[in-house]
């Protein structure tokens, strides 16, 4: 190696260390704020998945979430929604690998575990205009009141297909995202429902 090569390697090393240090410092400085935002996005997704909450400010989101939702060990990772002491349903967080990046969302399930009350996402980084459209209301609303089947709980069918129980329309041009979302939902919902039924909680 010549001295010029050593200089180039040393220069690159120094400059990388310098800019990385600045980024780490900056990211640490804003870490708490980012965590609060992520928590808020999750709470909004939970409220949205049930479909009957309206809010205007972040403070209202936090208040509604604290008032109506709670986590208890017997229901695993699901959040329990009670209204005036009566069990309405469960918000089950799910996540898995999408086409490009993780998909994170919440599925609201009825108290008997047979119907989906709604679906909402708090992290989607799929292809804008295609896969990312799973987070748009036109797609999500299909899951409101969707009756789950006993085998293969739900299915995403191509647009234009006549739908039967447990089926919704996929998005044209977003096949990979839809296939992955279907697998994530079926796997994680089934796991949780099977556990709850086995333990006699549903």
């Amino acid at each position: 190696m010549t001295s010029r090569s050593f200089y180039a390697v040393g220069y690159m090393f120094l400059i990388t260390a310098f800019f990385s240090t600045l980024i780490i410092g900056f990211a640490r400085g804003t870490q708490n704020r980012v965590l609060v935002n992520e928590r808020l996005a999750f709470e909004k997704a939970v409220l949205t998945s049930f479909g009957n909450f309206s809010y205007r400010t972040d403070a209202e989101v936090n208040r509604l979430f604290q008032e109506h939702l709670a986590q208890s060990p017997e229901y695993g990772k699901a959040w329990v929604y009670r209204k005036d002491g009566v069990l309405v349903g469960f918000a089950l967080p799910f996540e898995g690998k999408g086409f490009w990046a993780p998909i994170k969302g919440v599925a609201a399930v009825s108290s008997d575990g047979r119907t989906l009350l709604g679906l909402a996402f708090y992290e989607v980084n799929e292809t804008p205009g295609l896969g990312a459209r799973i987070a748009e209301p036109f797609f999500r609303r299909q899951f409101d009141g969707l009756r789950l089947r006993s085998e293969g709980l739900l299915e995403l069918k191509p647009e234009g297909t006549v739908l039967s129980e447990g089926q919704v329309h996929a998005i044209s041009g977003a096949t990979q995202t839809c296939v992955r979302l279907e697998a994530i939902l079926n796997e994680q919902l089934k796991d949780w429902l099977d556990t709850m039924r086995r333990e006699g909680r549903l």
């Binding site: 010029r4 200089y7 180039a8 220069y11 690159m12 400059i15 990388t16 800019f19 600045l22 980024i23 900056f26 990211a27 804003t30 704020r33 980012v34 935002n37 992520e38 808020l40 996005a41 490009w100 990046a101 989607v124 980084n125 804008p128 205009g129 990312a132």
Partner: protein, 207 residues
């Protein structure tokens, strides 16, 4: 690295905004042009981010140009661009999370935007820091001007709104052209804008 004769500010401004406009002259940065221009507010934030990143990256690249070995200059430029993009991304995540979610991966993709790397390589590497800063800034403004025109047309015709506010006539009587807010709408409007801008000064193209 050698320093070229300092370009007058007026020329830098004219080149960035019009004569060498990155969008309708050089056809650079088209990916984000098509992707984020269906909403004016998203476009404005994306343009601000790109303008800041281009200006600051050019300034930093120029500042380091006399010490940066030529054979690794592009690695250094990418590192500098990535640094500023990550800073913008972290700021949006912390202080404007909704916008961060709406823009999705496009803020991160500024790193690969040809305009930023193009200005660093073509201008900042051989010009003094302040000239490089203004060159990056005016190229960013040139990009922003075209994108905002496209966004106003797309949001107005597609949704009948401007920055989310209902427009008279377009929000009530206009039969909304949904295709305008979808990706093909971006192609149509971009093509029309390039056509109009190049029609205004056709001789420059012939040269």
């Amino acid at each position: 690295m050698k320093t070229a004769s300092v370009k007058p500010m007026q020329e830098i401004l004219r080149d960035g905004l019009w004569k060498d406009n990155p969008i309708f002259r050089q056809i650079l940065g088209i990916c984000s042009t098509l992707a984020v221009t269906n909403l004016v507010l998203n476009t404005f934030v994306m343009c601000t981010a790109l303008t800041l990143v281009t200006a600051l990256s050019c300034w930093t690249v120029s500042l380091l140009r006399n010490w940066t070995p030529r054979n690794i200059r592009m690695m250094v430029q990418t590192l500098i661009i990535a640094f500023y993009v990550i800073i913008v991304d972290v700021v949006l995540k912390a202080y404007w999370p909704d916008m961060n979610r709406s823009l999705g991966p496009y803020v991160g993709l500024i790193i690969t935007n040809c305009i930023v790397m193009g200005r660093c390589e073509a201008f900042a590497g051989s010009n003094p820091p302040m000239s490089a800063f203004w060159d990056g800034f005016f190229n960013g403004l040139g990009y922003s001007a075209v994108l905002l025109v496209i966004a106003v047309i797309r949001e107005g015709l597609g949704m009948g709104t401007f920055c989310g506010w209902p427009l008279p006539y377009f929000s009530t009587h206009w039969d909304k052209w949904i295709i305008m807010v979808m990706p093909p709408g971006g192609f149509f409007v971009l093509a029309c804008v390039i056509w109009v801008c190049r029609s205004i000064r056709p001789r420059e193209v012939k040269k």
